[in-house]
Symmetry: C2
Subunit: 347 residues, 2 copies
Amino acid sequence: MLENTERTELSTLGEFGLIKHLTQFIEIANESTVKGVGDDAAVIDYKGKKTVVSTDMLVEGVHFDLAYMPLKHLGYKAVSVNVSDIYAMNAVPRQITISLAISSRFSVEAVEELYSGMMLACHKYKVDIVGGDTTSSKSGLIISITALGEAEENDLVYRTTAKEGDLLCVTGDLGAAYVGLQLLEREKRIFMESPGVQPDLEGNDYIIERQLKPEARKDIPVLLQKLDVKPTAMIDVSDGLASEILHLCTGSETGCNLYEEKIPIDPAAYNTAREFNLDPTVCALSGGEDYELLFTIDQSDFPKIKANPDITVIGHMTHKKDGVNLISKAGTSVALTAQGWDSLLKK
Amino acid sequence: MLENTERTELSTLGEFGLIKHLTQFIEIANESTVKGVGDDAAVIDYKGKKTVVSTDMLVEGVHFDLAYMPLKHLGYKAVSVNVSDIYAMNAVPRQITISLAISSRFSVEAVEELYSGMMLACHKYKVDIVGGDTTSSKSGLIISITALGEAEENDLVYRTTAKEGDLLCVTGDLGAAYVGLQLLEREKRIFMESPGVQPDLEGNDYIIERQLKPEARKDIPVLLQKLDVKPTAMIDVSDGLASEILHLCTGSETGCNLYEEKIPIDPAAYNTAREFNLDPTVCALSGGEDYELLFTIDQSDFPKIKANPDITVIGHMTHKKDGVNLISKAGTSVALTAQGWDSLLKK
């Protein structure tokens, strides 16, 4: 999939050479970055604000398949999924460190592609690359990113502070990233069987992009502040709606009623899911990788968000003893457990 | 090498189960840890001090060989090498995040062993595990740790601020970790050829421990403060003395004269190196993994450190145009480049 035709072996640069080569164009965008790449450690000055830190690891063959994932997109995605966790704390990401383990089947040009995607995302989210580690791997590519951000104590939103009666809201739409993955895997199978066939992804731009180039919801903390709404709890949707709701409920010791008919699903994703004989609701509940924000608000804040096209109320928090339930379109209540959607999948 | 005889498959716990299982005994030791494991991100409050952050990745087959590296030691080492970078900034490590990619050949018990070593080191260095990621790997074990620490701005020591005339000092002794590795690899070869033969590592405890269970110099920033010495520049010795001196000189735009006869080498390491037909000086220059601190001080501070058995003056910084030189025991001057010691190796 690489467009670069040149191939420079990693061994020609060595570890320090590669790091120098990759980091030479880094520009620091944040005042809080006192010292970036180049010393034993980076130095950051949040001037009394809280430091927020999150980390994620992406492993080739587990989290991505380079047969359909261009390296530049992969780099972009690796940064997006990390800063998403910082936004989910209602904090502002400022710095990241990047560790890469790379096998010798990757060329310098390939690593440059990966890095250019990371730098693009850093520019988008205005975060500085302040450190990292680069090493060889016996097989495949492993990316580990740690994102740091800042927040005033009063702005932070945890996943443990939802209360009974709160409205459950989600941004954007859900399930498309998973449907996109199905599309890409189908085209890969077809390509493996008939290498001459061009992939047929037309009309599926949005779905494919949700999988290959997810965006973190940088806009939502800003929007919520503008609307004068502070969520009572918040989490990002990385593992699927069901899993995240269960995290909120377990953390906050509440129950929840989730209404199937309210779950926002993009029409193209809905139709493509159907083509694959997948239940679109199941894709939203368990697909994951949407990187939308799931949050709860006090009922009194409903008027402030109800007109916003980016936010959908999908349920409400209940007493713990009432459990975590999916209310289906037919009006039946199904307990939403980590396996809850397995039964849906089989219907 | 595992002592545990039970084997619980990782799949029986799942990702969240494994994280919960591993993190259940975490105790928070630092006031600055506001929120540890369990949310989208950890929250830290350094109360206006600077945040210092460093990251390292350890890859099976590249950085360690489980044929002779017990998992508990590996866990300990993974934490040590990370906090070492924080001490090298003259800062205090406070928190770490741990990301693991683990193949299915590891059992839950094996991961527990690894984690117990990490927790032991965390206890030793008084750092809190505040987050991480756990994922599967297609092959082998990958550990990525990010260490965070705090420092007052005036206490921070960079590698770019040494000046001409400064004395070059190093803590402890050098080269033993590399000699330890040679010993372990020899015993592995013997074991592979004759599996019945017990490893002969007697009398080499110190050397072996330097390789398997390195300690970060937590005591040195405290000692220097007690001695009222602030280094003009500092770096930790992870890649070997030569490489670190070159980093100091490049960063600080100075030259350096390093005196071979001054380089502190443990007598047992010296003798064992000789047994392997290795030049002990080369082991110190290029062996790496010593995790000692290399620093420069103003000449006027010499009386304060000269009586200290833990600190050895090994050279002095010169003008950039004078280059970076190793003055051999015979009095000849050899340019110390990244390949400088290659010529020594062949002598």
